[in-house]
């Protein structure tokens, strides 16, 4: 029996980059150990994302209104949960996560099955490393994460992640809707899940802009800090 794997691609106005990503994804040979399906979650895009995506042989979850990336990814988790997938992998729709790196994530899972595996930019220090200001923010998040989760997670903002069955089940219930990455790690750590990192290459985004810019960078850090702190206090069951 091949292992059922769901690739979750959250999209918000990604009509320019989604086609090449899906093209690339559909040509990858995942061997017959895995049975791969792709679900594109359209987070209320105003452009032609849905039209572009529906030309491909993928599952489309079309959210009628924009609910934020966390809510979009959570929809994918709910789909994975209802349809009994063993593994879910989040791949961002903007092309920052090269599809071939998915194989590395699966390999890391084979060698060392953790509940959550994060594709990290910073372990091997290869590929796109982000700007200085962002790296300071990421350093700070690493520090906070270490205090709250007692784990060394270098790339806590990476959206390139693999979740096993237990993590999927938890995420259908608890998943922050805005800036979910660092905060969800606190939730997973509190539930006693194992979290590991594996080096991957990332590319600078191809089109569009980061959701975190200008003043919102300050807002991001403040919001995420508060959210992580309260997630730490909150009961998870």
């Amino acid at each position: 029996m091949p292992i059922k794997v769901l690739l979750i691609i959250p999209c918000f106005n990604e009509e320019k980059s989604i086609a090449s990503l899906l093209d690339e994804l559909l040509t990858i040979n995942f061997t017959n150990k895995y049975w791969i399906e792709i679900v594109v979650v359209n987070d209320g895009s105003q452009d032609k994302t849905v039209e572009v995506v529906s030309q491909f042989n993928v599952i489309v979850l079309d959210l009628p209104v924009n609910i934020g990336i966390g809510g979009a990814v959570q929809t994918g988790f709910k789909y994975a949960f209802e349809n009994d997938y063993e593994i879910a992998i989040q791949v961002d729709g903007d092309g920052q996560h090269p599809p071939l790196e998915i194989l590395k994530m699966l390999k890391a899972y084979e060698e060392n099955p953790s509940n959550v595996i994060i594709g990290s930019r910073f372990i091997a220090k290869q590929g796109f490393q982000s700007s200085t200001l962002r790296r300071i923010g990421i350093f700070y998040l690493h520090f906070i994460n270490k205090i709250l989760t007692q784990k060394n997670i270098y790339d806590s903002t990476s959206g390139f992640r693999l979740f096993d069955k237990n993590a999927i089940a938890l995420a259908t219930r608890y998943y922050p809707d805005e800036y979910p990455e660092p905060e969800s790690l606190v939730i997973f750590a509190k539930a006693g899940f194992s979290i590991s990192e594996t080096p991957v290459m990332m590319k600078p985004r191809q089109t569009g802009q980061s959701s975190i810019r200008y003043f919102s960078q300050v807002y991001y850090i403040v919001k995420v800090t508060i959210a992580m702190f309260f997630s730490y206090i909150r009961k998870v069951n």
Binding site: V41, I59, V60, L61, D62, L63, P64, V65, I67, G68, G71, Q74, T75, K78, Y79, E82, D177
Partner: protein
């Protein structure tokens, strides 16, 4: 009774009447109207009992009676804003859940249609 009292009582009655109408028409949920009704009733009480403000201010040890009005109203408004934030948070959570359900149901429907066609 002085002119200002009559004006305030008149305006107050209008406000109370308008709130009642909103509730009757179902445009305002009862739980959100408690604050409004309490406020109008308070205003009404003090427009009849003019010395009341002085008496209360003295009881609280506030020198200028109008300061009591500012303090208490700012406090009430803050609490009410907090209440609205709570309501808003709940609504947002519900909307997220409903949106996700709709997307999942649409997908299920499409799958069923494809199966029927096959």
């Amino acid at each position: 009774m002085q002119k200002i009292q009559i004006i305030i009582i008149f305006i107050n009655s209008l406000l109370l009447f308008y709130i009642a109408r909103l509730i009757i028409k179902g445009k305002l949920r009862e739980e959100y109207t408690i604050a409004w009704i309490v406020c109008t009733i308070l205003l009404m009480v003090f427009s009849f009992w003019r010395n009341g403000l002085e008496v209360l201010a003295k009881a609280f040890g506030i020198f200028e009676a109008p300061n009591l009005v500012f303090i208490s109203f700012i406090f009430i408004i803050l609490i009410y804003l907090l209440h609205l934030s709570i309501v808003n948070t709940k609504l947002q959570k519900d909307i997220t859940k409903l949106t996700q359900e709709i997307a999942l149901m649409k997908q299920n429907l499409k799958k069923d249609e494809a199966n029927d066609a096959a």
